[in-house]
């Protein structure tokens, strides 16, 4: 694999910069809460600045090549190196992780979860960012694995300490599931390493050598990776940790989880499993495709059965990641492009939905769909943002979600020639049904929560005419501040700052998707060619 070498310090700096913030925070007493928040924002902001500078330096004409390449000795005993690089596939996700962490840090300014202690919370968040960014730049299996696992613990603690009522159950479930996957994944990595003569853990070598492994072995190794990544995605039979984790996690945790963490799994498929084991991928593609489509329908049906808003959004993640996996399973450039776009789009959209859900919970102290009603009257801006995100989520063209779903459907109808065409065409039709169901549950959610008039519980407490918002609002304003009704206010400044970039990104990527396709496509095309060459 050809690489470009210039400005190669920037990735290392961009990845590890949050650790500087962690170090500083370590020596500041926990009582200085504001200072901690400031440091977190500054650190993540600086990280994002480095990320944006990376965007500037990136050579878009050669986005299929790995840039900012560094290859240093790291653990020479096991032939693993500190090998990092960035190409069109990882660039969007790398930047997304930085942006999301920055915005989440800003959001934390006003919305610290109830358990308090911003020091530890923000330190964990910064460590999380290191793990996420590192996973996207790693070009060495062991390095990737290390970063992949670094992500795990902070998230475990975020859920377990700052989560909802059943946080311990949820966090443990998350942890065990992921560890289970990781264990199999590691075995698969090692098997791959030894099957390729134990020369190197570097991606470049493994991609060349992996294709030469015989078919049966490839299938077995792929199985291990499949379980590891599928748990993270999560795909259908491995998905049950997700609703619990999302529901119990604090808002920040949910957002990061949805926006970035889930992508590690799909990224792993695209970056590691498929190019290194083309024949294994070809053998497993129908399975992935079928499970993805089951996930789409199943997630949608799950959504219809929910009574809790956050849980509904969590289930919708299962459905959306199903589209991403369907795209990947086609092994075509169209499908993988769609998957990559879908990853970013889902990150933005579902992240936004979780933000809104968190803010609603903050104000109403409940997310039960039955009890919420008339958000548009009490909080018009919040209601419209929810509507915007819901529309984006159901795949409305012109918003980002569409570009993950639609090309995936196009690709599924025309999969890689080595795959069973009839099967994939059937899957296409079923997946299209999933878009209908998506419209069903999201609009149902929106109609129930945003439309109508606020329920008596949250509106006029002293009057019979509960539908009169202006009246109830002024009444609430006059009310004692200890009353929780005074919490119900529209989107505040901090939320605007944290959300606006999401909203703009959803719109801009939706209107002009070429921004991302242009970066990804050369790299994806190269990758698909490599896979095609590996399939006899």
């Amino acid at each position: 694999m050809e690489v470009l070498t210039n400005d190669n310090w920037i990735l290392t700096v961009g990845t590890f910069l949050p650790l500087v913030g962690v170090l500083v925070m370590l020596f500041i007493p926990a009582v200085e809460e504001t200072l901690h928040k400031q440091i977190a924002i500054v650190t993540s902001g600086a990280t994002l600045a480095v990320g944006i500078w990376t965007l500037v330096l990136f050579d878009y004409d050669q986005s299929e090549k790995l840039q900012f390449w560094v290859d240093e000795e790291w653990i020479s005993v096991i032939r693993s190196g500190y090998t990092i690089g960035l190409d069109g596939i990882s660039l969007p996700l790398y930047i997304l992780s930085m942006a999301v962490t920055f915005l989440v840090a800003i959001y934390t300014w006003d919305n610290m979860p109830d358990a308090g202690n911003p020091k530890s919370f923000l330190m964990l968040m910064m460590v999380l960012q290191v793990g996420m960014a590192g996973s996207f730049i790693a070009q060495d299996l062991i390095l990737f694995f290390v970063f992949f696992e670094v992500v795990l613990l902070p998230m475990y603690f975020m859920i377990g300490v700052w989560g909802g009522e059943q946080r311990q159950y949820a966090s443990l479930k998350f942890f065990l599931y992921t560890m289970f996957g990781s264990a199999l994944m590691l075995v698969a990595f090692l098997a791959l390493f030894f099957q390729t003569d134990a020369v190197s853990f570097g991606f470049a070598h493994l991609m060349d050598a992996g294709a030469l492994i015989d078919r049966d072995t490839q299938i077995w190794i792929f199985a291990g990776m499949f379980v590891g990544f599928a748990v993270k995605v999560p795909m259908f039979p491995f998905h049950t940790w997700l609703p619990d984790a999302h529901t119990q996690a604090p808002t920040q945790g949910s957002v990061i989880l949805a926006a970035i963490l889930l992508k590690l799994g799909t990224y792993g498929f695209v970056r590691i499993a498929i190019p290194m084991l083309p024949q294994g991928a070809e053998a497993w593609a129908p399975v992935i495709g079928v499970l993805a489509v089951i996930g789409i329908i199943y997630g949608a049906l799950g959504c219809l059965a929910q009574t809790d808003m956050k849980r509904l959004i969590a289930f919708s993640s299962v459905a959306h990641m199903g589209f991403v996996m369907l795209g990947i399973s086609t092994l075509t450039s169209l499908g993988i492009n769609a998957a990559l776009f879908g990853m970013v789009a889902h990150g933005l959209i579902t992240g936004m939905l979780f933000f809104v859900a968190g803010s609603i919970k903050h104000r109403y102290h409940t997310l039960e769909i039955k009890r919420l009603s008339g958000l548009l009257i009490q909080m018009p801006k919040m209601g419209w943002i929810l509507g915007f995100a819901a529309m984006a989520s159901l795949g409305l063209p012109g918003l980002a979600g569409f570009w993950g779903e639609f090309p995936a459907i196009l690709a599924a109808w025309n999969p890689h020639p080595a795959l069973n065409q009839d099967l994939f065409r059937t899957l296409t039709v079923i997946a299209a049904l999933g878009t209908v169901l998506a419209a069903g549950y999201l609009l149902w959610l929106y109609q129930r929560t945003a439309f109508g008039t606020p329920s008596d519980e949250f509106s006029g407490h002293d009057s019979g005419h509960g539908g009169h918002a202006a009246h109830s609002l002024s009444a609430a304003a006059n009310h004692d501040h200890d009353d929780h009704e005074s919490d119900i206010h529209d989107v505040n400044t901090i939320e605007w700052i944290a959300w606006t970039p999401f909203l703009i990104a959803i719109l801009v990527l939706g209107v002009y998707p070429q921004l991302m396709f242009e970066v990804m496509d050369p790299a994806v095309t190269q990758l698909v060619e490599r896979v095609g060459a590996g399939i006899p």
């Binding site: 443990l172 065990l176 599931y177 039979p237 998905h239 049950t240 199943y298 949608a300 049906l301 799950g302 959504c303 219809l304 059965a305 929910q306 450039s333 169209l334 492009n337 008339g374 009257i377 529309m391 409305l396 063209p397 012109g398 569409f402 570009w403 639609f406 090309p407 459907i409 196009l410 599924a412 109808w413 025309n414 296409t428 039709v429 299209a432 049904l433 878009t435 209908v436 169901l437 419209a439 069903g440 609009l443 149902w444 109609q447 439309f451 109508g452 008039t453 539908g467 009169h468 918002a469 202006a470 002009y512 998707p513 070429q514 396709f517 242009e518 496509d521 994806v524 095309t525 698909v528």
Partner: protein, 793 residues
């Protein structure tokens, strides 16, 4: 980045043709302008919407003018004008670039002009109609985006952009139908509209994927050319399914049977929305899609192949024509009558496309847009000015023609056009459809067409009579200043209607209650005071913003058809648009007098055309030429129309106008007597009560069918939709409860349980006592040592 800047080598395209893509872009930008700055503007953003739409219309007009020039530059051989295509890279995959841009040809020019023009008028109308609404700004933002969506779709050079516009319209219809979302009924209607259309969209997504699979491209022009050249003949079966899938989308969007149920519910939105939705945008989108990639349907569904009496499009269209017309008979809500009428007319368009009469269908889109928009606006005008925001023809209307000359005149002109009265616009298009069905040997659809025309006339006559003539009732009586019986007292009625189905009624109610944005709410009492000035020659009619557009549209309802008059062998419109069909027209030099055989011959020849190389060398398919007009052929339809008018008017007067007759003898008396001579005089005279007539006559003839159809509609189709939704939800719940929470999650929990149980089993070991720990430690050490010894020994 420019994919195909100038595809035309022969004739250079003018500025307007080159830059027609600005037409949707301007309203789209205006949408954001209204959204972000609308509330700060003196007129709440409506001026932005209006300006943008006028600008769009101006460019559209310029485009149309230059297109006409261009066609003439290509002449004298019509049908050759190349479309003006510009595309910019929108997204790419695997090196293939997909564009966004414009494809300007006859069809898109027609639609651009139509949409921009009608949107402009509707916006003008809305400035008065929704004045004082608490979401005035949002209304204009949505409606502007809505038009932008339609315009985007109309100029789409490829399927993806078409889907973009298509779905934006879906979204805006959701927002606009649910404009007054405080009422659950309204938000449910919005949900229903979006969801039903979305069900159809599934077909669009899959169909598009199929197109990519067959042709390897999504460019409409390429798809049309490839199909016409027979490139898809190897995968004919797949092409057939593609056509079916795409047509499912059209069924949903255009309210065709059996997915038409959302359309009448969509009346929950404000009237300007209904008029825009039902005339030139949204519902027409489905017809447009079929027309846009007509070769796919034509070849895929074997249209005009000899011996094929039926095909999917024609059958669905035909069914829709009849059932919708039947349903229109039993509606009391004027907007619902018009809604079913729209469904029925869309059925005509589909049927027309289904029998190979492309030009007739597109021309019907054109004429229908004007008169249907006019009818809706007139209905809104009545409700706004005369009937106190009610749409109930029986309770709150009647006899208002005296005070509302403009509205009445325009309504009657539009109704005449809708019914197909000669030399009104609808006549030219509708008659061509019916005539084509006859000429192309689709006998069944010929009868469907003329029966449909008969029924259209009948129900429109009934609606017209109820609305404008007879005794003023309820709110209309109040408006006319006529004494009326107190059981229909206005305020009593208004209060009573709060919980009823007429959403518009709630406008002032809520405007009072939620005056959060500081608008001037127009309540019941100062209702007339706050209106703008009326037109100078119609003082008692609606204000000029309302009456003006109605007047313009009324005139166009008469005259819009004069650009294509087969009666006078004047085919101007056809010549401008025929290049957009995608298939050549098999013009015959000597068309035989008998149109039926001629068309058949044409179809056969079209099949064989690839043998004889003519002007259209590549295309092996072609559509038959429109039949030559003959009064003889039009006569049965016209006679039926006249008959329908006569019967219905007589019936209506007998049924509804009896009391009116006592007060002011009316023009239709003689005809009523003629009906009486026809055998019903006995009934009319015997029972003096209106309701009784209605019960006997209507129940005896139309009611059972209509009622049955409506019942079927409400209970079977709707029940299926609802049942599907409910069973989906139940299935979801069941799976969630049993599979997800028990099996999948259960397996996970079981492993946790095993660990937990074994932990419990071992728990006594952790007694917390030092001695026991010591015992364990040493015991274990001893045992370990023994084991080691045994192993080593």
């Amino acid at each position: 980045m420019l994919l195909g800047a100038e595809t035309d080598g022969v004739v250079t395209a003018g500025w307007f043709l080159q830059n027609a893509w600005l037409i949707p872009v301007i309203p789209a930008i205006a949408f954001f302008g209204i959204l972000f700055f609308g509330k700060k503007l003196p007129r709440g953003g409506s001026e932005l919407g209006l300006i943008s739409m006028v600008a769009a219309f101006t460019i559209a007009a310029g485009t149309a003018w230059q297109w006409v020039d261009r066609v003439h530059a290509y002449s004298p051989e019509y049908g050759e004008a190349e479309p003006v295509i510009r595309q910019w890279t929108w997204w790419q995959s695997g090196g293939t670039e997909f564009g966004i841009g414009q494809q300007i040809d006859g069809l898109s020019v027609t639609m651009l002009l139509l949409v921009a023009f009608i949107s402009t008028l509707v916006l003008v109308y809305s400035t008065e109609y929704v004045r004082g609404d608490r979401r005035y700004t949002h209304f204009f933002a949505s409606i502007t985006l809505f038009s932008a969506g339609m315009l985007t779709m109309v100029i789409a050079p490829n399927m993806v952009q078409l889907i973009l516009g298509w779905e934006i319209m879906g979204l805006c219809s959701f927002l606009l139908i649910g404009h007054w979302w405080e009422e659950q009924a309204n938000s449910r209607a919005a949900l229903k509209a979006f969801f039903t259309v979305r069900v159809g969209d599934m077909g669009l997504l899959v169909g598009t994927a199929m197109l990519l699979g067959i042709f390897g491209t999504l460019d409409i022009l390429e798809i049309n050319q490839l199909t016409a050249e027979g490139a898809a003949d190897d995968s004919k079966n797949l092409l057939m399914w593609t056509a079916v899938a795409l047509f499912i989308a059209c069924i949903g969007k255009s309210g065709q049977f059996p997915l038409h149920t959302w359309l009448p519910d969509a009346m929950a939105g404000p009237t300007p929305v209904s008029s825009l939705l039902h005339s030139s945008t949204m519902v027409v989108a489905g017809v447009f899609l079929v027309a846009r990639i007509y070769p796919v349907f034509y070849v895929g569904l074997d249209i005009n192949v000899a011996g094929q009496q039926f095909n999917l499009i024609a059958v669905i269209g035909g069914i829709t024509v009849l059932i919708a017309a039947l349903l229109a008979f039993v509606q009391d809500d004027i907007k619902k009558v018009l809604a079913y009428s729209t469904v029925s007319q869309l059925g005509y368009m589909m049927m027309s496309l289904g029998i190979g009469a492309w030009t007739a269908a597109v021309f019907h889109i054109w004429t229908h847009a004007f008169f249907k928009c006019c009818l809706f606006l007139a209905a809104g005008s009545i409700s706004h000015t005369a009937s106190h925001h009610s749409f109930d023809m029986k309770k709150d209307m009647g006899g208002i023609w005296r005070k509302m000359p403009v509205t009445t005149g325009a309504w009657i002109a539009s109704t005449a056009a809708l019914c197909g009265v000669p030399y009104f616009s609808g006549f030219f298009s509708k008659d061509e459809i019916i005539d084509s069905a006859r000429a192309y040997d689709y006998t069944v659809f010929y009868y469907v067409g003329i029966i449909g025309a008969f029924m259209t006339t009948a129900y429109m006559t009934r609606a017209t009579y109820l609305t404008f003539f007879g005794t003023p009732r309820g709110a209309a009586a109040h408006f006319m200043g006529v004494a009326h019986d107190t059981s229909h007292e206005v305020h009593g009625h208004a209060a009573d209607a709060v919980g009823a189905e007429h959403a518009d009624d709630h406008l002032p109610e809520h405007a009072d209650a939620h005056d959060a944005h500081g608008h001037d709410a127009h309540g019941h009492d100062d209702h007339h005071v706050s209106h703008s000035r009326p037109l100078p020659f119609a003082k008692t009619d609606s204000p000029w913003q309302i009456a003006g557009p109605i007047l313009v549209l009324g005139i166009l309802a008469v005259s819009a058809g004069y650009i294509n008059m087969p009666v006078h062998k004047f085919y101007w419109f056809e010549h401008q648009t025929e290049s957009a069909i995608g298939l050549p027209i098999a013009h015959e030099e000597e068309k035989s007098a008998d149109g039926g055989e001629g068309a058949e011959a044409a179809a056969v020849e079209g099949e064989e055309a690839h043998g004889g190389d003519e002007a259209h060398s590549e295309a092996i398919y072609s559509v038959p030429a429109p039949p030559k007009f003959k009064w003889v052929n039009a006569a049965p339809g016209l006679i039926l129309v006249a008959l329908g008018f006569a019967i219905s008017l007589g019936m209506s007067m007998a049924v509804f106008g009896r009391r009116k007759n006592l007060f002011a003898p009316f023009v239709g008396l003689t005809r009523r007597n003629r009906i009486a001579r026809g055998g019903h005089t006995v009934l009319v005279k015997k029972y003096g009560l209106d309701s009784l007539y209605e019960n006997i006559i209507v129940r005896a003839v139309a009611y059972p069918f209509a009622k049955a159809a409506y019942w079927f509609n409400q209970n079977v189709i709707d029940a299926v939709v609802n049942g599907a939704g409910r069973s989906g939800k139940l299935t979801g719940e069941w799976i969630y409860r049993n599979v997800d929470q028990r099996v999948v999650d259960g397996a996970v929990n079981a492993s946790g349980l095993v660990a937990s149980e074994s932990g419990h089993a071992l728990q006594p070991v952790q007694s917390g006592k030092v001695n026991q720990y010591g015992a364990l430690l040493f015991g274990a050490a001893a045992v370990g040592a023994i084991v080691l010894i045994l192993i080593n020994a």
